[in-house]
């Protein structure tokens, strides 16, 4: 038996062209809800919404098993090819085990940050990624809004908003104006970081 290896995005694309054909409405309204419901019953999962964080280790482990089985049973639906990308459980586990445990946000130095796996009771705080998180920002205030985030010492890195216009034009997806807007966003965030004295900060 060959040991499974982590998948690549190329493998995934190849499977998107060859996997089983499924109607999208069947995926949305039958396959996903019915399999999730079946797995909830199989693993006896019951959540108490007054306990936002589970205190029962068996519940956590059963949720993990159910999620893993959902992914291995159903796979992922490609809306362009109308086919299902299938993985084996061994491939899923090989891929998640190979995932990075640490990474660098921004440049090494005073404004860069190292992200590393933490536990629920870890005394180390998480990375604070401040920003509009995809919320719309007007072209004229875009830079200032992001500077208001970058100037907060507790903010480690920036997540940007969406520039509503570029040179007054609507950045419609799939058009040159979309590319212009995205490039302008990245440059403006970098400028906001520099004006806040946070050169080297990640975005």
């Amino acid at each position: 038996m060959t040991l499974a290896r982590p998948l690549t995005v190329m493998d995934v694309y190849d499977r998107a062209k060859t996997g089983p054909k499924v109607e999208e409405k069947d995926w949305d309204f039958k396959i996903i809800p019915q399999t999730a419901m079946k797995l909830k019953k199989k693993y006896g999962i019951k959540m108490d919404k007054h306990k936002i964080i589970p205190e029962d280790e068996a519940l956590c482990k059963n949720l993990f098993k159910a999620g893993l089985e959902l992914l291995a049973t159903c796979g992922v639906y490609c809306i362009d090819t109308h086919r299902v990308i299938k993985y084996t459980e061994e491939e899923i586990l090989a891929s998640v085990t190979a995932a990075p445990k640490t990474a660098q946000f921004g440049e090494p130095g005073v404004n860069g940050r190292t992200i590393a796996c933490r536990k629920h009771d870890d005394k180390r705080p998480p990375i604070i990624q401040g920003g509009p998180t995809g919320a719309p920002c007007s072209e004229d205030l875009f830079l200032k809004i992001h500077q208001s985030y970058a100037q907060e010492p507790i903010v480690d890195t920036i997540v940007d908003g969406v520039m509503q216009t570029i040179k007054g034009k609507d950045p419609t997806p799939g058009t040159p104006w979309e590319i212009a807007a995205v490039k302008a966003e990245a440059k403006a965030v970098r400028e906001a970081q520099m004006r806040a004295g946070r050169c080297g900060m990640g975005l």
């Binding site: 959540m47 999620g67 933490r118 500077q147 208001s148 907060e152 507790i154």
Partner: protein
């Protein structure tokens, strides 16, 4: 963009993908970029109820690392009716999904913030606090926000919301889970009855002086009011911070 900036690619609801996402993910992978794969499962959507959506959230999180070779996964369970990530149900989904992954694996995971209320309101800050506490005490590595006013109103977002998100995270890091749950139950009950009448708040230009980029006194007073509520709920972060400044 540097390779050390987060390069975003998104999955679709639920457990779906399009070819163009795979194509630009291939560009990220072959460039050696840090990859952040996003997906926001919908509570009350295709998956259904609380447990089913949590199971889908676990599967989706795993898929970021299988399909996209992600460096980290950005979550964001969203309430189908309220459009926020700060409801009791969506916080429970995020908290349970993260703890489920933590029980078996070490993966880097974040969560994004969509509050119902707008900036310069106590409700917006309390919603932010509840999610920051949930994320920090369920083991997430990244807190990403805040898109106030559900992330749909232009310029309804400011740096002070992120300050509060960060301070609440620092205030609870390392806290025992039973105590966290008690705190969250009280905190969420302070705002969850107000979704229908959530205060709109003010846009950026009403919250900050747009020349000096300093918050208005009105917003600082709102911030202090939220700090007082969190302190009354038992967090001593701000009291300790003040003592350090005074010393």
């Amino acid at each position: 963009m540097r390779t050390t900036d987060s390069h975003e690619v998104s999955q679709l609801n639920e457990l779906k993908i399009d070819v163009s996402a795979l194509a630009f993910d291939a560009h990220y992978v072959l460039s050696g970029d840090m990859i952040m794969c996003e997906q926001m499962p919908i509570f009350g959507g295709y998956a259904g109820g609380l447990e089913e959506t949590t199971i889908v959230d676990v599967a989706t999180t795993l898929n970021s690392f299988v399909m996209m070779q992600a460096t980290w996964h950005l979550d964001g369970p969203t309430h189908v009716r309220w459009g926020n990530t700060t409801s009791r149900e969506t916080l429970a989904i995020a908290g349970h999904a993260c703890m489920a992954i933590e029980s078996e694996l070490d993966l880097m995971m974040g969560n994004q913030y969509y509050t119902t209320a707008g900036p310069c309101t106590v409700m917006c800050l309390l919603e932010t606090a509840a999610q920051a506490i949930t994320d920090t005490c369920s083991g997430r590595e990244v807190l990403s926000g805040v898109a106030a006013s559900k992330g749909v109103a232009t310029n309804y977002t400011t740096g002070l919301e992120a300050r509060f998100m960060g301070e609440c995270a620092y205030a609870v890091a390392g806290m025992e889970t039973a105590k966290v749950n008690e705190l969250l139950d009280k905190l969420i009950s302070l705002y969850e009855k107000d979704y229908k009448q959530a205060p709109v708040g003010k846009p950026f230009e009403g919250c900050y002086d747009t020349t000096t980029l300093l918050p208005t006194q009105e917003y600082l007073d709102v911030y202090d009011e939220a700090v007082k509520i969190m302190t009354d709920l038992g967090l001593d972060y701000w009291t300790k911070k003040k003592s350090r400044v005074d010393a």
